[in-house]
Protein backbone atom coordinates (compact mmCIF):
# COMPACT_ATOMS: atom_id res chain seq x y z
CA UNK A 1 0.00 0.00 0.00
CA UNK A 2 1.29 3.39 -0.91
CA UNK A 3 1.69 5.90 1.91
CA UNK A 4 0.03 9.26 1.46
CA UNK A 5 1.30 11.88 3.87
CA UNK A 6 -1.48 13.93 5.43
CA UNK A 7 -1.57 17.51 4.19
CA UNK A 8 -3.16 20.29 6.21
CA UNK A 9 -4.81 23.32 4.66
CA UNK A 10 -5.56 26.40 6.76
CA UNK A 11 -8.29 28.99 6.71
CA UNK A 12 -6.51 32.06 8.14
CA UNK A 13 -4.25 34.46 6.26
CA UNK A 14 -1.83 36.81 7.98
CA UNK A 15 -2.30 40.33 6.74
CA UNK A 16 0.48 41.60 4.48
CA UNK A 17 2.08 44.78 5.77
CA UNK A 18 4.26 47.01 3.63
CA UNK A 19 6.92 49.04 5.38
CA UNK A 20 8.37 51.99 3.49
CA UNK A 21 7.56 53.29 0.03
CA UNK A 22 8.53 52.49 -3.55
CA UNK A 23 12.04 51.09 -3.89
CA UNK A 24 12.61 51.63 -0.19
CA UNK A 25 9.94 49.18 0.86
CA UNK A 26 9.52 45.62 1.99
CA UNK A 27 6.59 43.36 2.72
CA UNK A 28 6.07 41.11 5.69
CA UNK A 29 3.33 38.60 6.47
CA UNK A 30 0.81 37.40 3.92
CA UNK A 31 1.25 33.70 4.75
CA UNK A 32 -1.61 31.20 4.98
CA UNK A 33 0.51 28.42 6.42
CA UNK A 34 2.26 27.77 9.73
CA UNK A 35 5.96 28.67 9.84
CA UNK A 36 8.18 26.21 7.95
CA UNK A 37 5.32 23.81 7.28
CA UNK A 38 6.55 23.34 3.71
CA UNK A 39 4.76 19.99 3.65
CA UNK A 40 1.30 21.54 4.11
CA UNK A 41 -0.94 23.39 1.72
CA UNK A 42 -0.43 27.14 1.51
CA UNK A 43 2.54 29.46 1.16
CA UNK A 44 4.44 32.33 2.62
CA UNK A 45 4.96 34.93 -0.10
CA UNK A 46 7.30 36.97 2.10
CA UNK A 47 10.05 35.00 3.83
CA UNK A 48 11.21 36.50 7.13
CA UNK A 49 13.15 39.76 7.02
CA UNK A 50 16.01 40.96 9.20
CA UNK A 51 16.64 44.45 10.55
CA UNK A 52 19.80 45.70 12.25
CA UNK A 53 19.36 47.95 15.24
CA UNK A 54 20.96 51.34 15.78
CA UNK A 55 20.37 53.81 18.59
CA UNK A 56 20.26 57.60 18.60
CA UNK A 57 23.32 58.10 20.82
CA UNK A 58 26.70 56.58 21.33
CA UNK A 59 26.09 53.34 23.26
CA UNK A 60 27.37 53.41 26.83
CA UNK A 61 27.15 49.80 27.91
CA UNK A 62 27.68 47.79 24.73
CA UNK A 63 30.35 45.11 24.71
CA UNK A 64 33.51 45.95 22.80
CA UNK A 65 32.90 43.13 20.32
CA UNK A 66 29.44 44.49 19.56
CA UNK A 67 30.71 48.03 18.94
CA UNK A 68 33.64 46.82 16.82
CA UNK A 69 31.88 46.44 13.40
CA UNK A 70 30.49 50.00 13.73
CA UNK A 71 33.33 51.70 15.59
CA UNK A 72 33.96 54.44 13.00
CA UNK A 73 30.30 55.40 12.60
CA UNK A 74 28.73 54.73 15.94
CA UNK A 75 28.58 58.37 17.02
CA UNK A 76 26.50 59.28 13.97
CA UNK A 77 23.12 57.53 13.53
CA UNK A 78 22.99 58.37 9.80
CA UNK A 79 26.37 56.81 9.03
CA UNK A 80 25.60 53.92 11.34
CA UNK A 81 22.36 53.25 9.49
CA UNK A 82 24.16 53.29 6.13
CA UNK A 83 26.68 50.84 7.51
CA UNK A 84 23.81 48.49 8.40
CA UNK A 85 22.68 48.67 4.82
CA UNK A 86 26.18 47.67 3.67
CA UNK A 87 25.97 44.68 5.98
CA UNK A 88 22.90 43.49 4.11
CA UNK A 89 20.11 44.41 6.52
CA UNK A 90 16.61 44.30 4.98
CA UNK A 91 15.66 47.24 7.18
CA UNK A 92 17.16 49.53 9.80
CA UNK A 93 15.66 49.67 13.27
CA UNK A 94 16.26 52.96 15.09
CA UNK A 95 15.65 53.00 18.82
CA UNK A 96 15.38 56.46 20.35
CA UNK A 97 17.09 55.43 23.57
CA UNK A 98 18.27 58.93 24.47
CA UNK A 99 14.70 60.19 24.86
CA UNK A 100 14.19 57.91 27.87
CA UNK A 101 13.75 60.07 31.00
CA UNK A 102 16.09 57.66 32.76
CA UNK A 103 18.80 58.04 30.09
CA UNK A 104 19.15 61.58 28.69
CA UNK A 105 15.53 62.66 28.48
CA UNK A 106 16.40 64.27 25.15
CA UNK A 107 13.71 66.22 23.34
CA UNK A 108 11.00 64.92 21.05
CA UNK A 109 11.99 67.46 18.41
CA UNK A 110 15.60 66.33 18.44
CA UNK A 111 14.53 62.70 18.11
CA UNK A 112 12.21 63.55 15.22
CA UNK A 113 15.06 65.34 13.47
CA UNK A 114 17.38 62.33 13.76
CA UNK A 115 14.63 59.96 12.64
CA UNK A 116 13.94 62.00 9.53
CA UNK A 117 17.63 62.27 8.59
CA UNK A 118 18.12 58.53 8.94
CA UNK A 119 14.95 57.74 7.00
CA UNK A 120 16.02 59.95 4.13
CA UNK A 121 19.63 58.76 4.02
CA UNK A 122 19.09 55.03 3.63
CA UNK A 123 17.73 52.93 0.77
CA UNK A 124 16.00 50.35 2.96
CA UNK A 125 12.88 50.93 5.03
CA UNK A 126 13.14 52.27 8.55
CA UNK A 127 11.53 51.00 11.73
CA UNK A 128 11.47 53.48 14.60
CA UNK A 129 10.96 52.66 18.26
CA UNK A 130 10.70 55.09 21.13
CA UNK A 131 12.44 54.36 24.40
CA UNK A 132 9.53 52.25 25.66
CA UNK A 133 8.63 54.78 28.36
CA UNK A 134 4.95 55.02 27.50
CA UNK A 135 4.51 58.63 28.64
CA UNK A 136 7.58 59.97 26.90
CA UNK A 137 6.79 57.94 23.79
CA UNK A 138 3.39 59.64 23.69
CA UNK A 139 5.32 62.90 23.13
CA UNK A 140 8.16 61.59 20.99
CA UNK A 141 6.39 59.25 18.57
CA UNK A 142 3.83 61.81 17.32
CA UNK A 143 6.72 64.22 16.50
CA UNK A 144 8.59 61.43 14.74
CA UNK A 145 5.47 60.46 12.79
CA UNK A 146 4.97 64.04 11.70
CA UNK A 147 8.59 64.60 10.68
CA UNK A 148 8.50 61.44 8.57
CA UNK A 149 5.06 62.24 7.14
CA UNK A 150 3.95 59.93 4.34
CA UNK A 151 6.97 57.61 4.49
CA UNK A 152 4.89 54.61 5.60
CA UNK A 153 7.37 53.59 8.30
CA UNK A 154 6.80 51.06 11.06
CA UNK A 155 6.66 52.97 14.34
CA UNK A 156 6.25 51.77 17.91
CA UNK A 157 5.96 50.59 20.52
CA UNK A 158 2.26 51.41 20.67
CA UNK A 159 1.14 50.31 24.11
CA UNK A 160 -2.06 49.98 26.12
CA UNK A 161 -1.23 53.23 27.92
CA UNK A 162 -0.65 55.39 24.84
CA UNK A 163 -2.35 53.74 21.86
CA UNK A 164 -4.96 56.46 21.45
CA UNK A 165 -2.53 59.36 21.16
CA UNK A 166 0.21 57.53 19.28
CA UNK A 167 -2.14 55.53 17.06
CA UNK A 168 -3.95 58.63 15.92
CA UNK A 169 -0.82 60.46 14.77
CA UNK A 170 0.54 57.36 13.04
CA UNK A 171 -2.72 57.20 11.12
CA UNK A 172 -2.68 60.93 10.29
CA UNK A 173 0.83 60.69 8.88
CA UNK A 174 0.46 57.40 7.05
CA UNK A 175 2.57 54.98 9.10
CA UNK A 176 2.26 51.41 10.37
CA UNK A 177 1.92 50.67 14.07
CA UNK A 178 3.90 48.14 16.07
CA UNK A 179 1.62 47.12 18.96
CA UNK A 180 3.48 45.92 22.04
CA UNK A 181 2.01 43.93 24.95
CA UNK A 182 3.89 42.27 27.79
CA UNK A 183 4.09 38.56 26.91
CA UNK A 184 0.38 37.79 27.18
CA UNK A 185 -1.87 36.66 24.37
CA UNK A 186 -5.05 38.01 25.97
CA UNK A 187 -3.57 41.47 26.45
CA UNK A 188 -2.14 41.38 22.95
CA UNK A 189 -5.55 40.68 21.47
CA UNK A 190 -7.19 43.35 23.62
CA UNK A 191 -4.76 46.00 22.38
CA UNK A 192 -5.41 45.03 18.78
CA UNK A 193 -9.17 45.15 19.31
CA UNK A 194 -8.94 48.63 20.80
CA UNK A 195 -6.47 49.92 18.23
CA UNK A 196 -8.56 48.55 15.37
CA UNK A 197 -11.49 50.72 16.38
CA UNK A 198 -9.80 53.60 14.60
CA UNK A 199 -6.67 52.15 13.05
CA UNK A 200 -6.61 49.84 10.01
CA UNK A 201 -5.78 46.23 10.91
CA UNK A 202 -3.74 46.01 7.69
CA UNK A 203 -1.21 48.42 9.16
CA UNK A 204 -0.58 46.71 12.48
CA UNK A 205 2.39 44.56 13.40
CA UNK A 206 2.34 42.54 16.64
CA UNK A 207 5.25 42.89 19.06
CA UNK A 208 4.65 40.17 21.68
CA UNK A 209 7.96 40.93 23.46
CA UNK A 210 10.94 38.79 22.69
CA UNK A 211 13.04 37.45 25.52
CA UNK A 212 16.57 36.14 24.99
CA UNK A 213 17.76 32.57 25.17
CA UNK A 214 18.07 31.63 28.83
CA UNK A 215 16.04 34.63 29.92
CA UNK A 216 12.52 33.47 29.10
CA UNK A 217 12.80 32.84 25.38
CA UNK A 218 10.54 29.81 25.73
CA UNK A 219 7.71 32.12 26.81
CA UNK A 220 8.16 34.25 23.72
CA UNK A 221 8.37 31.13 21.59
CA UNK A 222 5.13 29.65 22.93
CA UNK A 223 3.35 32.96 22.64
CA UNK A 224 4.38 33.58 19.01
CA UNK A 225 3.52 30.03 18.12
CA UNK A 226 0.10 30.44 19.68
CA UNK A 227 -0.56 33.80 17.99
CA UNK A 228 0.28 32.19 14.65
CA UNK A 229 -1.84 29.13 15.30
CA UNK A 230 -4.85 31.11 16.42
CA UNK A 231 -4.53 33.33 13.36
CA UNK A 232 -3.79 30.67 10.74
CA UNK A 233 -5.84 27.76 12.13
CA UNK A 234 -8.82 29.38 13.85
CA UNK A 235 -8.77 32.56 11.79
CA UNK A 236 -8.92 35.00 14.68
CA UNK A 237 -9.17 38.38 13.04
CA UNK A 238 -7.24 40.10 15.80
CA UNK A 239 -4.13 37.91 15.67
CA UNK A 240 -3.76 37.66 11.90
CA UNK A 241 -1.03 40.33 11.83
CA UNK A 242 2.67 39.82 11.14
CA UNK A 243 4.99 39.57 14.14
CA UNK A 244 8.12 41.55 14.93
CA UNK A 245 10.75 39.95 17.19
CA UNK A 246 12.75 42.73 18.81
CA UNK A 247 15.40 40.47 20.26
CA UNK A 248 18.88 41.91 19.65
CA UNK A 249 18.79 44.30 22.59
CA UNK A 250 17.62 41.53 24.91
CA UNK A 251 20.35 39.15 23.76
CA UNK A 252 23.19 41.64 24.09
CA UNK A 253 22.10 42.54 27.61
CA UNK A 254 22.95 39.03 28.78
CA UNK A 255 26.10 38.22 30.69
CA UNK A 256 26.86 35.44 28.22
CA UNK A 257 26.77 37.71 25.15
CA UNK A 258 28.88 40.36 26.83
CA UNK A 259 31.53 37.85 27.88
CA UNK A 260 32.79 36.91 24.43
CA UNK A 261 32.06 37.60 20.81
CA UNK A 262 31.60 33.97 19.86
CA UNK A 263 29.16 33.43 22.69
CA UNK A 264 27.29 36.62 21.82
CA UNK A 265 26.86 35.71 18.18
CA UNK A 266 25.59 32.27 19.07
CA UNK A 267 23.30 33.67 21.78
CA UNK A 268 21.72 36.07 19.33
CA UNK A 269 21.76 33.53 16.50
CA UNK A 270 20.00 30.79 18.44
CA UNK A 271 17.37 33.26 19.65
CA UNK A 272 16.80 34.40 16.06
CA UNK A 273 16.44 30.89 14.70
CA UNK A 274 14.13 29.84 17.51
CA UNK A 275 11.77 32.77 17.12
CA UNK A 276 11.89 32.35 13.37
CA UNK A 277 10.56 28.83 13.86
CA UNK A 278 7.89 30.20 16.19
CA UNK A 279 6.67 32.41 13.37
CA UNK A 280 8.32 35.85 13.60
CA UNK A 281 8.02 37.76 10.30
CA UNK A 282 10.68 40.39 10.92
CA UNK A 283 13.51 40.05 13.42
CA UNK A 284 15.66 42.79 14.90
CA UNK A 285 19.34 41.98 15.52
CA UNK A 286 22.31 43.97 16.65
CA UNK A 287 25.41 42.22 15.33
CA UNK A 288 26.05 42.07 11.57
CA UNK A 289 27.89 38.78 11.91
CA UNK A 290 24.82 37.20 13.50
CA UNK A 291 22.88 38.42 10.48
CA UNK A 292 25.39 36.72 8.19
CA UNK A 293 25.37 33.54 10.26
CA UNK A 294 21.58 33.36 10.27
CA UNK A 295 21.28 34.01 6.54
CA UNK A 296 23.82 31.29 5.78
CA UNK A 297 22.00 28.87 8.05
CA UNK A 298 18.70 29.52 6.32
CA UNK A 299 20.16 29.25 2.82
CA UNK A 300 21.85 25.92 3.48
CA UNK A 301 18.91 24.32 5.24
Amino acid sequence: MEYEPPVEAYSGVVREVTIGKGKKSLKIGGENILPFHFFDQGSNPNPAKFALEIIDMEPQDWAQHLVEPFKDVIADPVKWAKKCEEFGADAVFLRLVSTDPAVKDSSADGAADIAKKVAEAIDVPLIIYGSGDDRKDAEVLPKVAEACDGMNLLIGPVQKENYEVVGKTLLDHGHNASALSPLDINLLKELNVKLCKFFPAEKIVIDPESAALGYGMEYSFSLMERVKQIGIITKDNMTMMPIIADLGAECWKTKQAKESKEQGLLWEGITVLSLLLAGANILVLRHPETLKLVKETIETR
Partner: protein
Protein backbone atom coordinates in the same frame (compact mmCIF):
# COMPACT_ATOMS: atom_id res chain seq x y z
CA UNK B 1 -29.88 24.16 39.72
CA UNK B 2 -29.34 24.36 43.46
CA UNK B 3 -27.95 27.78 44.33
CA UNK B 4 -25.62 28.22 47.28
CA UNK B 5 -25.68 31.96 47.99
CA UNK B 6 -22.11 33.27 48.12
CA UNK B 7 -22.75 36.70 49.60
CA UNK B 8 -21.71 36.13 53.21
CA UNK B 9 -18.03 36.05 52.47
CA UNK B 10 -15.30 37.20 54.82
CA UNK B 11 -13.23 38.72 52.00
CA UNK B 12 -15.85 41.46 51.84
CA UNK B 13 -14.71 44.08 54.37
CA UNK B 14 -18.23 44.79 55.61
CA UNK B 15 -18.79 41.13 56.47
CA UNK B 16 -15.44 40.75 58.15
CA UNK B 17 -16.16 43.81 60.31
CA UNK B 18 -19.70 42.66 61.09
CA UNK B 19 -18.43 39.30 62.31
CA UNK B 20 -15.74 40.91 64.43
CA UNK B 21 -18.18 43.38 65.99
CA UNK B 22 -21.01 40.85 66.26
CA UNK B 23 -23.22 43.11 64.16
CA UNK B 24 -26.11 40.72 63.49
CA UNK B 25 -28.09 43.09 61.30
CA UNK B 26 -25.58 43.27 58.44
CA UNK B 27 -25.40 39.48 58.28
CA UNK B 28 -29.12 38.93 58.67
CA UNK B 29 -30.03 41.49 56.02
CA UNK B 30 -27.87 39.65 53.53
CA UNK B 31 -29.23 36.26 54.55
CA UNK B 32 -32.79 37.55 54.12
CA UNK B 33 -31.98 39.05 50.75
CA UNK B 34 -30.45 35.78 49.54
CA UNK B 35 -33.44 33.82 50.78
CA UNK B 36 -35.88 36.18 49.10
CA UNK B 37 -33.92 36.03 45.85
CA UNK B 38 -34.38 32.26 45.69
CA UNK B 39 -31.16 30.78 47.02
CA UNK B 40 -31.37 27.17 48.24
CA UNK B 41 -28.44 27.28 50.65
CA UNK B 42 -26.56 30.10 52.36
CA UNK B 43 -22.79 29.81 52.26
CA UNK B 44 -20.89 31.06 55.29
CA UNK B 45 -17.38 31.68 54.10
CA UNK B 46 -15.39 32.54 57.20
CA UNK B 47 -11.84 32.01 56.00
CA UNK B 48 -9.24 30.41 58.28
CA UNK B 49 -10.80 31.92 61.46
CA UNK B 50 -7.87 31.84 63.84
CA UNK B 51 -9.37 33.61 66.88
CA UNK B 52 -12.33 32.57 69.09
CA UNK B 53 -13.08 29.96 66.50
CA UNK B 54 -15.90 28.01 68.09
CA UNK B 55 -17.70 30.91 69.69
CA UNK B 56 -17.60 33.01 66.51
CA UNK B 57 -18.83 30.19 64.32
CA UNK B 58 -21.66 29.39 66.66
CA UNK B 59 -22.72 33.03 66.75
CA UNK B 60 -22.65 33.31 62.98
CA UNK B 61 -24.66 30.16 62.35
CA UNK B 62 -27.29 31.10 64.93
CA UNK B 63 -27.48 34.66 63.64
CA UNK B 64 -28.21 33.44 60.13
CA UNK B 65 -30.64 30.77 61.29
CA UNK B 66 -32.68 33.43 63.09
CA UNK B 67 -33.15 35.24 59.78
CA UNK B 68 -33.54 32.39 57.31
CA UNK B 69 -34.88 28.85 57.17
CA UNK B 70 -32.44 27.82 54.47
CA UNK B 71 -29.86 25.12 55.14
CA UNK B 72 -26.27 26.35 55.48
CA UNK B 73 -23.03 25.65 53.72
CA UNK B 74 -20.14 25.90 56.18
CA UNK B 75 -17.21 27.18 54.16
CA UNK B 76 -13.86 27.07 55.96
CA UNK B 77 -10.51 25.29 55.79
CA UNK B 78 -10.29 25.19 59.57
CA UNK B 79 -11.58 21.83 60.93
CA UNK B 80 -12.32 23.31 64.34
CA UNK B 81 -14.48 26.05 62.84
CA UNK B 82 -16.07 23.48 60.57
CA UNK B 83 -17.07 21.23 63.45
CA UNK B 84 -18.47 24.13 65.48
CA UNK B 85 -20.46 25.25 62.46
CA UNK B 86 -21.87 21.83 61.61
CA UNK B 87 -22.79 21.26 65.25
CA UNK B 88 -24.83 24.46 65.41
CA UNK B 89 -26.84 23.82 62.23
CA UNK B 90 -30.53 23.00 62.66
CA UNK B 91 -30.97 21.72 59.13
CA UNK B 92 -28.78 19.22 57.35
CA UNK B 93 -25.76 21.30 56.38
CA UNK B 94 -23.24 21.18 53.56
CA UNK B 95 -19.59 20.79 54.51
CA UNK B 96 -17.70 23.10 52.13
CA UNK B 97 -15.20 21.74 51.48
CA UNK B 98 -13.04 18.65 51.63
CA UNK B 99 -10.52 17.46 49.05
CA UNK B 100 -8.28 14.53 48.23
CA UNK B 101 -5.43 16.01 50.26
CA UNK B 102 -4.34 13.72 53.10
CA UNK B 103 -5.00 16.30 55.76
CA UNK B 104 -8.49 17.01 54.45
CA UNK B 105 -9.28 13.30 54.19
CA UNK B 106 -8.21 12.84 57.81
CA UNK B 107 -9.82 15.92 59.31
CA UNK B 108 -12.77 16.98 57.13
CA UNK B 109 -14.35 13.83 55.72
CA UNK B 110 -14.92 12.20 59.15
CA UNK B 111 -16.83 15.35 60.17
CA UNK B 112 -19.24 14.87 57.29
CA UNK B 113 -19.93 11.35 58.55
CA UNK B 114 -20.15 12.42 62.20
CA UNK B 115 -22.67 15.20 61.57
CA UNK B 116 -24.44 13.42 58.72
CA UNK B 117 -23.93 16.35 56.36
CA UNK B 118 -23.61 16.63 52.63
CA UNK B 119 -20.03 17.31 51.61
CA UNK B 120 -18.28 19.17 48.80
CA UNK B 121 -15.17 17.29 47.67
CA UNK B 122 -12.82 18.95 45.23
CA UNK B 123 -10.58 17.19 42.73
CA UNK B 124 -7.42 18.55 44.39
CA UNK B 125 -5.05 15.97 45.88
CA UNK B 126 -1.61 15.99 47.49
CA UNK B 127 -0.22 16.16 43.96
CA UNK B 128 -2.04 19.45 43.38
CA UNK B 129 -4.61 20.41 40.83
CA UNK B 130 -5.19 17.76 38.15
CA UNK B 131 -4.94 19.62 34.84
CA UNK B 132 -7.15 17.67 32.44
CA UNK B 133 -10.41 15.73 32.37
CA UNK B 134 -8.85 12.28 32.78
CA UNK B 135 -6.67 13.20 35.73
CA UNK B 136 -9.56 15.03 37.40
CA UNK B 137 -11.74 11.97 37.08
CA UNK B 138 -8.97 9.71 38.34
CA UNK B 139 -8.35 11.93 41.38
CA UNK B 140 -12.00 12.29 42.32
CA UNK B 141 -12.64 8.56 42.01
CA UNK B 142 -9.89 7.89 44.52
CA UNK B 143 -11.24 10.40 47.01
CA UNK B 144 -14.87 9.33 46.56
CA UNK B 145 -13.87 5.70 47.15
CA UNK B 146 -12.16 6.80 50.33
CA UNK B 147 -15.29 8.68 51.42
CA UNK B 148 -17.50 5.68 50.60
CA UNK B 149 -15.34 3.55 52.85
CA UNK B 150 -15.95 6.03 55.66
CA UNK B 151 -19.64 5.46 55.11
CA UNK B 152 -20.44 8.55 53.05
CA UNK B 153 -22.63 7.53 50.07
CA UNK B 154 -22.30 9.04 46.60
CA UNK B 155 -25.58 10.96 46.87
CA UNK B 156 -24.18 12.98 49.79
CA UNK B 157 -21.08 14.00 47.82
CA UNK B 158 -20.96 17.18 45.76
CA UNK B 159 -17.92 17.05 43.51
CA UNK B 160 -16.14 20.33 42.72
CA UNK B 161 -13.89 20.31 39.61
CA UNK B 162 -12.41 23.72 40.62
CA UNK B 163 -13.14 26.46 38.14
CA UNK B 164 -10.23 28.75 37.24
CA UNK B 165 -10.31 32.23 35.74
CA UNK B 166 -10.95 32.21 32.00
CA UNK B 167 -8.70 35.27 31.67
CA UNK B 168 -5.58 33.39 32.82
CA UNK B 169 -3.10 33.98 30.02
CA UNK B 170 -3.19 31.16 27.53
CA UNK B 171 -4.54 28.39 29.74
CA UNK B 172 -7.74 29.86 31.22
CA UNK B 173 -9.97 29.00 28.32
CA UNK B 174 -8.71 25.43 28.19
CA UNK B 175 -9.59 25.08 31.89
CA UNK B 176 -13.10 26.35 31.20
CA UNK B 177 -13.58 23.69 28.54
CA UNK B 178 -12.09 20.99 30.77
CA UNK B 179 -14.64 21.72 33.53
CA UNK B 180 -17.51 21.58 31.04
CA UNK B 181 -16.38 18.16 29.86
CA UNK B 182 -15.77 16.95 33.39
CA UNK B 183 -19.31 17.80 34.47
CA UNK B 184 -20.63 16.16 31.33
CA UNK B 185 -19.14 12.75 32.08
CA UNK B 186 -19.18 12.82 35.90
CA UNK B 187 -22.57 11.09 36.27
CA UNK B 188 -21.48 8.26 33.99
CA UNK B 189 -18.40 7.58 36.06
CA UNK B 190 -19.89 8.05 39.52
CA UNK B 191 -23.64 7.34 39.50
CA UNK B 192 -25.83 9.28 41.96
CA UNK B 193 -23.01 11.74 42.62
CA UNK B 194 -23.81 15.46 42.81
CA UNK B 195 -21.66 18.36 41.66
CA UNK B 196 -20.98 21.99 42.46
CA UNK B 197 -18.66 24.80 41.35
CA UNK B 198 -17.43 28.14 42.67
CA UNK B 199 -19.00 29.87 39.69
CA UNK B 200 -17.69 33.41 40.01
CA UNK B 201 -14.10 32.23 39.91
CA UNK B 202 -14.49 31.91 36.15
CA UNK B 203 -14.56 35.69 35.91
CA UNK B 204 -11.85 36.49 38.43
CA UNK B 205 -9.49 39.12 37.07
CA UNK B 206 -12.05 40.35 34.52
CA UNK B 207 -13.26 43.99 34.63
CA UNK B 208 -15.99 44.15 37.31
CA UNK B 209 -18.81 45.29 35.07
CA UNK B 210 -18.26 42.35 32.72
CA UNK B 211 -18.05 39.60 35.34
CA UNK B 212 -21.79 38.78 35.69
CA UNK B 213 -22.09 38.10 31.97
CA UNK B 214 -19.37 35.45 32.12
CA UNK B 215 -20.82 33.92 35.30
CA UNK B 216 -24.32 33.71 33.85
CA UNK B 217 -23.28 32.29 30.51
CA UNK B 218 -21.00 29.69 32.07
CA UNK B 219 -23.77 28.65 34.49
CA UNK B 220 -26.12 27.97 31.58
CA UNK B 221 -23.44 25.92 29.83
CA UNK B 222 -22.61 23.88 32.93
CA UNK B 223 -26.31 23.43 33.65
CA UNK B 224 -26.80 21.92 30.22
CA UNK B 225 -24.02 19.45 30.95
CA UNK B 226 -25.69 18.35 34.18
CA UNK B 227 -24.24 20.55 36.92
CA UNK B 228 -26.24 20.01 40.12
CA UNK B 229 -25.43 23.17 42.03
CA UNK B 230 -23.30 26.31 42.09
CA UNK B 231 -21.94 28.66 44.70
CA UNK B 232 -23.07 31.90 43.12
CA UNK B 233 -24.72 35.28 43.59
CA UNK B 234 -28.50 34.89 43.93
CA UNK B 235 -28.84 38.67 44.07
CA UNK B 236 -27.96 38.78 40.37
CA UNK B 237 -31.52 38.76 39.09
CA UNK B 238 -30.68 38.01 35.49
CA UNK B 239 -28.58 35.05 36.59
CA UNK B 240 -31.49 33.64 38.60
CA UNK B 241 -33.91 34.22 35.72
CA UNK B 242 -31.62 32.40 33.33
CA UNK B 243 -31.11 29.29 35.42
CA UNK B 244 -34.77 29.19 36.46
CA UNK B 245 -35.82 28.94 32.84
CA UNK B 246 -37.30 32.40 32.57
CA UNK B 247 -35.11 33.42 29.63
CA UNK B 248 -35.43 30.43 27.27
CA UNK B 249 -34.41 32.38 24.14
CA UNK B 250 -31.03 33.30 25.60
CA UNK B 251 -30.49 29.76 26.87
CA UNK B 252 -31.30 28.41 23.42
CA UNK B 253 -28.78 30.79 21.84
CA UNK B 254 -26.06 29.71 24.26
CA UNK B 255 -26.79 26.06 23.47
CA UNK B 256 -26.59 26.71 19.74
CA UNK B 257 -23.26 28.45 20.24
CA UNK B 258 -22.01 25.46 22.25
CA UNK B 259 -23.01 23.23 19.33
CA UNK B 260 -20.77 25.25 17.06
CA UNK B 261 -23.55 26.75 15.02
CA UNK B 262 -22.59 29.78 12.96
CA UNK B 263 -25.11 32.29 14.29
CA UNK B 264 -25.91 35.41 12.29
CA UNK B 265 -25.27 38.18 14.82
CA UNK B 266 -26.96 40.85 12.72
CA UNK B 267 -30.36 39.30 13.45
CA UNK B 268 -29.88 39.47 17.23
CA UNK B 269 -30.49 42.10 19.88
CA UNK B 270 -27.41 43.66 21.56
CA UNK B 271 -27.98 41.54 24.67
CA UNK B 272 -28.23 38.34 22.62
CA UNK B 273 -25.03 39.25 20.80
CA UNK B 274 -23.26 39.63 24.13
CA UNK B 275 -24.34 36.17 25.26
CA UNK B 276 -23.25 34.56 22.00
CA UNK B 277 -19.85 36.27 22.12
CA UNK B 278 -19.38 35.25 25.74
CA UNK B 279 -20.31 31.64 25.03
CA UNK B 280 -17.76 31.62 22.20
CA UNK B 281 -15.07 32.66 24.66
CA UNK B 282 -16.09 29.94 27.12
CA UNK B 283 -16.11 27.19 24.50
CA UNK B 284 -12.62 28.29 23.50
CA UNK B 285 -13.80 29.17 20.00
CA UNK B 286 -12.69 32.79 20.35
CA UNK B 287 -9.45 33.84 22.01
CA UNK B 288 -10.19 35.68 25.27
CA UNK B 289 -9.35 39.33 25.81
CA UNK B 290 -10.93 41.86 28.16
CA UNK B 291 -12.39 43.40 25.01
CA UNK B 292 -14.20 40.20 23.96
CA UNK B 293 -17.51 42.00 23.48
CA UNK B 294 -15.94 44.64 21.28
CA UNK B 295 -14.64 42.49 18.46
Amino acid sequence: MVIIGENIHVIAQAISTAIKERDAKVIQDLAKAETKAGANYIDLNVGPMKKDTEETMEWLVNTVQEASDLPLSIDTMNPEAMEAGLKACKKRPLLNSASGKSLSKEQMLPLAKKYNSDVVISVITDKGMPPDVDSKIESIMDTVTYANELGIPNEDIWVDPIILPVSTAGEGQRFAVVCLEFINILQDVLPEIKSTVGLSNVSNGVPDDLRPLLNRTYAVMLDRNGLYSAIADPLDEEFMNLIQGKMPEIVELIYRTMDGEDIDLSSLSPKEVEYVKTAKVLTGENLYSDAWLES
